[in-house]
């Protein structure tokens, strides 16, 4: 059944399943909501469903379904921000790199494509897509276009895309995926049926980690709590050496509390230049800070295995210090989303003096 491989998201599932059962799917959807909660997984499943030949669509085992899962289906167009170049040889290299990354992504679908150069969805990408969609479906199903991180379209690309949405073809379906829908052109948003995806309950993530990744119960619970409702983040933590990062977060906080700026800069230096690490680190730090606040009010804490260290840490920050730190962390996270230098974000969040932190 459609979406039965998806955790949670009952409202979103119900909305689309109903349309699917009644045979009145919209021509374009916008799946929006926080990162790592199943938007893209749902979009992939919908693309499989509209092209599957089995009785119970999507079967996820037939040739069509398998080729969509591996991004190799001629009627499935996967668009995501990638690097661009004006030189032909460079473009060929990029195409190879994208193909390589899609191969990895087929095995690890929650991983976004990652490049060490600036990426975007440009007008050339939209033109290619338009060209692909202008042809009859290759296998007679319905052409599906999945635009991942649709908010990364350039202005030109957005306008070209809008034109395509304005003249939809009955044999194609667009699924836009974004965690920042407010950045999309309002005219694009208004032409899509919006489906909201929410943060997942920690219990659901914990169950997934227990069953699918054979994690010990304590670790699964801690990780689920730290993932903050995002399965994608939990899986990323799992892959990226979660325990080391957690230790680093603690070291950073302990250095900050002790006023050990050398230790702090050293720790920041270890994290600032790695993709995604500053974000994860800030979340981990936030989790510890919120635990300190919880501890103060006698509530239950996530980092239960380190309650003694937590108590010491809390004393180190004192009363006003903790509140100010929480505020700075929040601003630093917002700053990271707006492309502020990660190092600067980490420094201002952690090294700022209470009440005197520079604004981002």
């Amino acid at each position: 059944m459609l979406f039965d491989n998806l955790i949670g998201q009952e409202v979103a599932k119900r909305t689309i399943r109903r349309a699917w059962d009644e045979g009145r799917l919209a021509g374009s959807y916008l799946f929006y909501g926080p990162d790592g909660v199943g938007k893209e997984a749902a979009a992939m499943d919908l693309a499989r469903a509209v092209n599957c030949g089995a009785e119970d669509k999507p079967c996820r085992t037939c040739s069509s379904c398998r080729r969509i899962s591996t991004y190799q289906h001629p009627d499935f167009h996967y668009l995501a921000p990638v690097p661009h170049s004006s030189s032909e040889s460079e473009r060929r290299k990029i195409a190879e790199e994208v193909a390589e990354q899609l191969k990895d992504k087929a095995a690890q679908p929650h991983r976004p494509l990652a490049f060490d150069r600036p990426t975007a969805i440009t007008i050339d990408d939209i033109r290619d897509l338009k060209r692909g969609l202008s042809l009859h479906p290759y296998e007679g199903g319905r052409q599906a276009a999945l635009v991942a991180r649709a908010d990364r379209m350039t202005e030109e690309a957005s306008n070209a895309f809008l034109k395509m949405l304005e003249e939809p073809s009955p044999s194609s379906i667009f699924i836009l995926v974004s965690d920042r829908p407010n950045i999309l052109l309002p005219t694009i948003v208004s032409r899509c049926q919006k489906v909201r995806f929410d943060l997942l309950p920690a219990g659901a993530i914990e169950a997934h980690l227990l069953h699918n990744h054979n994690l010990p119960e304590v670790e699964a619970r801690l990780m689920a709590d730290l993932a903050g409702g995002s399965l994608g983040r939990a899986l990323e933590m799992l892959e990226q050496g979660f325990w080391e990062e957690r230790d680093l977060a603690w070291t950073l906080l302990e250095s900050a509390a002790a006023g050990d700026y050398f230790g702090l800069m050293n720790g920041i230096g270890q994290a600032a230049d790695q993709r995604g690490k500053p974000e994860r680190l800030l979340s981990l730090v936030q989790e510890v800070v919120s635990d300190m606040l919880h501890l103060r009010h006698g509530r239950s804490i996530v980092n239960a295995d380190r309650s003694d260290r937590l108590r010491t840490l809390e004393l180190g920050f004192g009363n006003g210090g903790l509140d100010a730190l929480a505020g700075r962390l929040e601003r630093a996270k917002a700053g990271l989303k707006q492309n502020v230098t990660p190092r600067l974000c980490l420094i201002t969040a952690l090294a700022g003096r209470p009440g005197g932190s520079p604004e981002l």
């Binding site: 080729r67 991004y71 190799q72 060929r92 994208v98 338009k130 060209r131 042809l135 009859h136």
Partner: protein
Amino acid sequence: MKFTVAQDKLVAGLQSLIGVVPTKSTFPILSNILLDAQEKKLVISATDLEIAAVTQVEAKISSAGSVTVPARQFTEIVKQLPALPVEVEASENRVTIKCDRSRFSIVGLPKDDFPKMPELKKDKSLKLAGGTLQAIIKKTLFAVANDTSRPALCGVLFQMSGDGLKVVTTDGRRLALFEAMIPPVSHKSELLISPKGLNVVNRMLGGDEKEITVQFDDSYTKFSFDGTQVFARHIEGTYPDYDKVIPSGNKKVMTASVELFTAAVKRVAILSDTFTYQIKLSLRTDSLELSSQTVDIGEAKETMAASYQGDEMDIGYNASYLLDILKNLENDELNMYLNTPLSAGLIKPAKQADDYKLTYLLMPLRLPE
């Protein structure tokens, strides 16, 4: 899979397909070709998902089977081999090529990943002489739009009815209409074929006179000749009603020599604006004056003989569009049917060929005051 094949035959087969293989794609399998050793013959397929081509090569098959190999490397290897029998053997995905004292081993990809060749459902068909199809391609493809904002105009319209076959291309500024005199077709159909597919067919046809079977359903057109098949995926969309734009009341007729007119346009165009290529045609009684000018560079003027009996008129055209049309008129003389300096003009050969009729429409450029 194992087969032996003559080097020259294999090269010919591969070279006809290599144009279909895309140079960059996010589908790695598309840079491969499928070698399928069937009973008594080797079937080679290539596709870029828009065009698919299949060709057969005579071969001695020792054991049937199929594998995909990187198209460019495989073709290059076979091309460089001496003209002797080539033995190709695949076990799993490793393909060994042996010929004389050379031995190559390349890594293929499993054939299951290779896109299936299209199958036509409930197809209709017609027969075309190779020469006619090549004339269609040569005389109409230049007017296809390459502006993706109007996908339908990026295709070549094949319209079949009791009147025979009409082929139309237009980019909104010019239009080419090719009416082939073929036996009436009982079914009425309209196909929008991608120019890329037609170019592939054109290249494969070469100079020989062949009969082509054209089969089609809603999604594909298949061109078959000499054991080769080319599938072109149709473009979706509705083609504009071109009949409405072709004027019927253009009473002013100018007749001129194609050769002289072409030469004059080429000369005058040298000093035309580099962006609009605008030249001015001044129609006078029994003469035609061509002129152009570019500010700060200079101006050109040339008068040539032409038969014209209407009111005197000045009209502007894009010289490069005009030349695109002129080079496709094989007759000695052309007729231009005009109305006003701002309405569409028609250009036709003064005498149409025996087996087809050509009509070109060209929109004028507004002359500066």
